[in-house]
Symmetry: C2
Subunit: 261 residues, 2 copies
């Protein structure tokens, strides 16, 4: 197979790919996202994600051939890029030289399963935390993740930290978490707001029968008053020592673990 | 109080501070570490850490006066620095303008409590993960943390992610984790190697009576064969879905939670 070569960092396709990585609004508008890494791009193909364009360095084509051959077989258009272009595209210091522009899938159910277990993330600031929560949620067998308040699973750092889990599991995006929580309650689901308050119910004392959504808030400011107000119960992970709270992804891991106990 | 002013980024004290942030071996050699942030420096003072030098921008002196006044009262020498110097010292885009050079404390017990609960981290690569584990360990009331294989709690990113917990709780540094695990076993402690293997014992099925050390390995390669071989049991967090493992700090949070159940 002969690929068109791109050696100029100013090439329009390269500029578009870089902008897709940078801009959540462009991702939404174009219905596309940018993915980096041999394994991650391979995983996307395996998951059935549509690969619109793929970019490889010559070195990556032999070094990661087990992945790239599979990616090439499923990709719309493939380009060979120079090491310089690879560095321009990459979020890392030592890029593997494998990149894809993928279609945001719209074939994944965004319906809540009334019997399902979910973590809802509100306004998480650190995309690495968002990705780590996706990974924990999938590993623990949750039914899905709910994200709101600007959490974007297609942020490149979130995609990397999720190691493919965010592309495999159902992720429901909501512009109005309180409304979604009220809908869930109407479906008979339990809705829990996790807060670092000693007055809230110990998460171990909550029955996890039936459908449950447990909400985790922003790293600095926690859950919004609106989200807390929409939940049926306040829960907490009891703390000792002088620590005031957990890292958001550590808290979500413990809460997801308890959801599935 | 009149402080000496530093406006040159090439000032020797500034260069030393920057190198302390960058170099683990210099930190070890000098017995000092570099700390950034108003709250974190204040917490260090509260914890009884010796502040050898403190650096403040003029703006920080009034903006964070509740913290800086306390830091100044306990500091060896204080300097007023320009915004340019602050940017040079900082690890962040928008520095608060508060920095300290602290003495590595040697008054914290490095003895294992034979009845205590510990997480041991081997060769963690990401300092943010290290810091997040410190934070979880303190919040959950573990007796301490054991770090080996180049994990340095005084790395600036680790210090920031730990939010002061690594300065408050006992952290035992070991150059030889397998030997430490064997000593712990001789003290009557349980030693657990956490591995992503379905054949290992479900962590929920381990009795947590008495002293327990649970080991967590490197993000990419997991625990070394030597550490695994030195442990009394292999344990795992059961996984479903296609995820192959957890983020190290998520796994440590769940394991610490189970240690204290």
């Amino acid at each position: 197979m002969v690929m068109e070569k791109i050696t100029a960092r100013t090439n329009d396709k390269i500029k578009h790919a870089v902008r897709l990585g940078e801009s959540a609004s462009l991702r939404k508008e174009a219905g596309e996202f940018f993915l980096e890494g041999a394994r991650l791009c391979f995983d996307a193909v395996q998951t059935g994600i549509e690969i619109k364009q793929a970019f490889f360095t010559a070195k990556a084509l032999w070094k990661y051939s087990e992945y790239t051959e599979c990616i090439i077989a499923k990709s719309g258009i493939c380009y060979e890029i120079s090491a310089e272009v690879s560095q321009k595209l990459s979020d890392t210091e030592n890029p593997q030289g494998v990149f894809c522009i993928c279609a945001i899938r719209n074939d994944v159910s965004t319906q809540l399963n009334p019997k399902g277990k979910y973590i809802a993330l509100e306004n998480l600031q650190d995309p690495s935390n968002l990705g780590a929560v996706c990974r924990s949620a999938e590993a623990l067998g949750l039914d899905g993740l709910i994200v709101s308040g600007g959490c974007d699973i297609y942020n490149p750092k979130a995609l990397r930290a999720a190691m493919g889990s965010s592309l495999r599991m159902p992720v429901i995006t909501s512009d109005n978490l309180p409304a979604l929580l009220k809908e869930a309650e109407a479906l008979g689901m339990q809705t829990l707001a996790s807060v670092p308050r000693s007055t809230a119910t110990d998460i171990r004392r909550i029955s996890m029968e039936g459908g449950v959504i447990c909400c985790v808030g922003n790293e600095g400011s926690g859950l919004s008053e609106e989200a807390i107000g929409a939940c049926g119960a306040l829960v907490t992970i009891p703390m000792s020592g002088r620590a005031e709270s957990f890292n958001a992804s550590a808290a979500a891991a413990i809460l997801a673990w308890e959801l599935k106990r």
